[in-house]
Amino acid sequence: MGRYVVRRLLQSIPVFIGATLLIFLMMYSLPGDPVRALWGEQSVDPAQIAAMKKDLGLDLPLWQQYWNYFIGLFQGDFGTQIASGRPVSEVIGEALPVTIRLALFAFTFTTLAGISLGVLAGLRADRLFDRGMLFFTLLLISVPSFVLGYVAQFVFAFKLDLLTPTVQDSEAFGDLLMPAVVLGSLSLAYVVRLTRTSIVENLRSDYIRTAIAKGLPRRRVIGVHLMRNSLIPVVTFLGTDLGALLGGAVITEGIFNVQGVGNLVYDALFRREGSTVVGIVTLLVIIYLAVSLIVDLLYAVLDPRIRYV
């Protein structure tokens, strides 16, 4: 398996270079000059713009800019923000822990609640609980997240006065509860439905019948034999979902005032802060690569028939 992991890691190098180059080119080809825009509609000062561009290295040809950026990356230098003049690594360093906290919170919620509800629904297929779950998950899928966010804010913060309407302190888990639940609820619905279908299908399979016929206790049949096989599609989904959560959620972050990666990327895109956008996307690419590797390795844990050599 060690060789497999090494091979996967080596494969990720060209993916990494390609992704940074692509994003770099995209940012470069967007219309709008970020330095010029600092003056807005006021009188502009061409001499000052030229001086600032020279200091930031933005007057160099594109390939040279990319080369400088790429070399910098290996020295841990993510570049400098145009407007604020702060190092990009510092800016990302502020936003990323917030997003990681929120994402893990939402992810834990999705996984625990989603799988248990899904298993329950699957075991009671076509009974009242299952029908109720179908309705509930359809509702979650069809309601846009901003509606859910505002409704939750209105009900829990203003009517019931249980929670603060927005995040005051991104380290307090009480504050993050509402955004995490809202953020996780869409995935929750998918996880419930995936688990349920998978469980229902596998319940009818031969190996389960054998297990029951062997006289294994019901707990072991469900907990080990049934769950393990049924979770493969769920794990695939959860893996990419974790990546998406870590990429930030612009809308939910906006509603609940979470100063995370989503907002950062959004602002940076609008301000044409190329180095910030490329820096974050680079990190996200790494996160996705890592998560997909973990998911692939987890397959082997869940299904003994899968082996990596």
Partner: protein, 537 residues
């Protein structure tokens, strides 16, 4: 199962590692909760400043709130646009070319350094130097010797502007390269505030913990969350703080800030999001603020574009007349704008009741005028705007007006964001007209004309070029007194009413609100809440 077991171990290790990163993030940040507000402080929704709050490098509203708290310049303006001296004892001139500034005695920076004439001269030389990359450097371009420190190309030839001379500790003179009768008014902008001598050693480091001469001293800055300042007890100015300190809190959206206002976690919000505009007055009662300020929203023809090249002014008058400003302001904009009645807003000196027919809605006459003037080539115009600024609704309404009332096809030309919009304007690629806005730099009518419609002005992106108007403005710039200058500009405005270099549409209004814990919340001529006057209950 061999593979499976080691995979299990890998997965376990990764989970542990992730938990560790989450914890690692915890200890790095400031532990104190952002909502913990010290006694007597007031809090206001003001986002993360674009860059470190140096007066000469701040030209956006978040930063300027903070600069205003930390720094004090020579003078400011009251609600009527009259000068109020702050750090200056007097500013005098005989020929509008050489200005003598006397400072008040006893002023100190927050680190104890005395505010002297030398502080001002050093700061201005620093700010004007092209090498220091200060965004407001062009503000110093009237001073003699500016070209030496800020050449159009290449490195500066000198470190100091020859026009600045220290007379004694509290007096200095400013010689301009040409007389500017309204120079004193320009000095009201915070960019002219002084910096202590420590600032020049390492401006970047200084910007993280700025030391000013203003009513508040720096306390802490948690990037993207909070900027906190405390009252400076030795402050000598008239605008000294009435509260113990200010927390400037960053919110990702106006909507989120508004929720915080309702639940009492922030004392003031400067803007109300579109979602809450229809109901904020009911929510807040007399704690809702709606007040016009000195800014004008216009639609500007690009005089190089196909529809408007060599256009007959009558066509422009007609098109402008076809717009029902009152109704759009009231309905589409929810009363957040006021219909414009001249090229200048009422808050500035020299604003006159122009009684321009072309700014008054008259559907019938509009059509006649457009036809009389020969119409528009192709019978089609475009209005370019940036989609990220909330302009879509009213631009669409304006276009609807023009189409219905004059028969000229009008197309809202949406650009994804402000940057793209500006790019096209700079490159002379606007297809017909564009949306323009101007907020007063200083409360004089001059500011709304000189920078926008003089043929050589940098912000004249419509490339309007009229010799008569140019001449009147130049005459105004060389007038002996301020009054005369204002008057000549008023004459220029009269001509503009005929030529229509732009269609003024709205004057801006601020929509803000404050919470139950504070009082004395006022708005200045510039549309900013006067935070230093706010008191806690």
């Amino acid at each position: 199962m061999r593979g499976a077991r080691s995979a299990k171990w890998v997965a376990g290790a990764i989970v542990v590692a992730m938990a560790a990163t989450a914890c690692g993030g915890d200890s790095g940040d400031d532990k104190k909760s952002a909502s913990g507000k010290p006694e007597g402080y007031v809090s206001i929704e003001v986002g993360e400043p674009q860059n470190a709050p140096l007066p000469s490098d701040t030209n956006e509203s978040n930063g300027s709130y903070i600069v205003k708290a930390l720094f004090t310049q020579l003078l400011e303006f009251d609600d009527k646009g009259e000068i109020v001296y702050l750090n200056a004892e007097s500013v005098e001139t005989e020929d509008s070319k050489t200005w003598t500034v006397k400072l008040k005695d006893g002023w100190t920076f927050h680190n104890g350094e005395k505010v002297t004439a030398q502080s001002y001269v050093d700061t201005w030389n620093f700010a004007a130097n092209v090498k220091n990359n200060q965004k407001n450097s062009f503000w110093f371009s009237d001073i003699k010797g500016y070209e030496d420190v800020h050449p159009e190309k290449g490195d500066p030839k000198a470190e100091e502007m020859s026009g600045l001379k220290v007379v004694d500790d509290l007096t200095f003179t400013v010689e301009l390269s040409e007389p500017v009768p309204y120079f004193e008014y320009k000095l009201g902008y915070t960019t002219w505030a002084p910096l202590p001598s420590v600032a020049f050693d390492d401006p970047k480091k200084f910007g993280e913990k700025p030391i000013g001469n203003g009513p508040y001293k720096f306390e802490k800055w948690n990037h993207n969350k909070l900027f906190q300042v405390a009252k400076y007890d030795k402050y000598k100015g008239e605008d000294s703080a009435k509260n113990e300190g200010i927390q400037f809190k960053n919110y990702s959206t106006p909507e989120a800030a508004y929720q915080e206002l309702l639940s009492g976690n922030v004392d003031m919000v400067r803007q109300i999001g579109a979602k809450d505009l229809p109901k904020y007055k009911q929510d807040l009662g007399d704690r809702a603020i709606e007040q016009p300020y000195a800014a004008v929203q216009s639609i500007v023809p690009a005089f190089y574009s196909k529809p408007f090249k060599d256009v007959d002014p009558k066509v422009l008058q007609g098109l402008s007349m076809a717009i029902d400003r009152e109704t759009i302001a009231k309905t589409v904009m929810n009363g957040t704008r006021e219909a414009a009645t001249s090229f200048t807003p009422p808050q500035v000196q020299g604003n006159q009741d122009l009684d321009i027919p072309s700014l008054k809605f008259d559907a019938k006459k509009a059509k006649e005028l457009v036809e009389e003037g020969g119409g528009v080539p192709g019978n089609k115009i475009w209005i370019q705007f940036n989609a990220d600024g909330g302009h879509k609704e009213w631009v669409t309404a304006v276009c609807e007006n023009i189409r219905q009332n004059t028969g000229v096809e009008c197309i809202p030309d949406s650009k994804p964001d402000f940057q793209t919009d500006l790019d096209l304007r700079d490159a002379n690629k606007v297809k017909g007209m564009y949306r323009g806005g101007w907020v007063a730099d200083y409360p004089l009518n001059v500011n709304f004309m000189r920078e926008l419609y003089h043929s050589k002005a940098e912000a004249n992106s419509g490339r309007f070029n009229n010799k008569e108007i140019d001449a009147l403005m130049e005459k105004g710039d060389h007038a002996k007194t301020l009054e005369e200058s204002i008057k000549l500009y008023q004459e220029a405005e009269q001509v503009m009413a005929e030529e229509m270099p732009a269609f003024p549409i709205f004057n801006y209004k601020i929509n803000a609100g404050y919470g139950e814990d504070v009082e004395n919340v006022n708005v200045d001529w510039h549309g900013d809440l006067v935070v230093s006057e706010v008191t806690t209950k």
